[in-house]
Symmetry: C2
Subunit: 239 residues, 2 copies
């Protein structure tokens, strides 16, 4: 479909850092988000999943649209124009890729270790970058990442986050560390535990984490039935 | 811009009912949301404000995009096709209005009494309908309204809602009644008051509500500086 693209903000969690997957654009010293277009008969969610799969090799990933970016000047710094020039593709000025297009932002939370990062036709590399140390980004991609991060932080308040970002078994301090990394702030240990348990999405396992000093912490896993119910309905309101 | 439209879910509050503004489509017995398209050089937020203004006469209204609807079959039941046939407009089949288009959903909360409801070129009437008693809706407009309502209920949990829906001075029971109507459930009076006050967006006025039996309740108004700060940043997290 002309006039509209999809940009994916793909978050991974590694070494207590929040990472985002970026492409180095061919021929210029700027980076961009994994992006693509919508086939004529394709649901937009399917397009987003296809783009994510092409860049990461992953299937069945939780992916959520979060905003549509519709500033008429967002394409003034046009990646496609640069790429066309650098790769000697002759496109007429009327080509819609050289005109304004809207973009739909999707965000995904993925298992950092499972990603097989693959550049696309327009890019030289596809790599993880620390959210606190991003390179120069093309067009409005910096705004798109900030909006995705803001949305993710908001979602932490009313829907479950963490599946895909954590191993299948984790300790409460590991879960807290994930939340602290996303929120970029320290949380109170007891409040965090009380609140997380109140959501009813965790199963406490009979195993303890082995090989740690002092008291061995309990292991937890997500109760996926309740987790997905909460994803669809939100956590029960606090009213 | 071809291939993309905007639909506005305009909520009003009247007699403790949540209402939505709908257009009766010309020539068929179905209703639709106030809708329109995006001019070539127009920001999508500006398009939405223009559409809202054309249908209600209102300016400076809080309007929020909440979702983009991108099912390839959402236009199979094409309003435009019906209207073209009923108004004897001859459009070639290749006209983009007869093809698939995506739609961006915006929702607005408006002062019911201030609206001057005005039909558009494609419709016979423009009227308020109770959210619990909607007529037959065209295309996916029923889904769009349900998604807007779900979003509004979610937003009640983490950002301020109520300005534009209430008079400038209101009592705590009136504010609670608005929340109960939106959520479609009864809330605990003391919890509600404690929680609302904790957000710091209300000013208690020195006046009391006059002419009521028993103890006269305090009047409140929104502290608009804090209200808009909370709209941009969300309420402080409960973590």
């Amino acid at each position: 479909m002309p006039g509209i693209s999809i940009d994916c903000v793909i978050f991974g969690f590694h070494d207590n850092q929040l990472k985002v997957l970026l492409l180095k654009i061919a021929g210029i010293n700027e980076y961009g988000l994994p992006a693509g277009f919508i086939y004529k008969d394709e649901h937009i969610d399917t397009s987003a999943k296809r783009i994510l799969n092409e860049r990461t090799g992953l299937h069945d990933i939780f992916l959520q649209q979060f905003y549509i970016f519709g500033d008429p000047h967002r394409c003034d710094d046009n990646i496609t124009k640069n790429v066309f020039e650098n790769t000697n593709i002759n496109a007429p000025k009327s080509n819609w890729l050289l005109q304004r297009f809207l973009t739909i932002g999707y965000y995904a939370l993925v298992d950092f270790a499972a990603v097989n990062a693959t550049p696309d036709y327009f890019s030289e590399t596809c790599e993880w970058h620390d959210i606190h140390n991003l390179p120069v980004l093309a067009m409005d991609h910096s705004d798109i990442i900030q909006k995705a991060l803001f949305t993710l932080r908001t979602h932490l308040r009313y829907e479950p986050v963490g599946f895909n970002l954590l191993p299948s078994k984790f300790t409460m301090p590991e879960l807290q560390s994930l939340y602290e990394t996303i929120l970029d702030e320290k949380l109170d240990r007891r409040n965090f535990q009380r609140k997380m348990l109140s959501y009813g999405i965790l199963k406490r396992l009979k195993e303890l984490r082995k090989g740690v000093a002092h008291k061995a912490p309990y292991l937890y896993s997500f109760d996926l039935r309740k987790y997905h119910k909460a994803l669809n309905e939100g956590f029960q309101s606090a009213w």
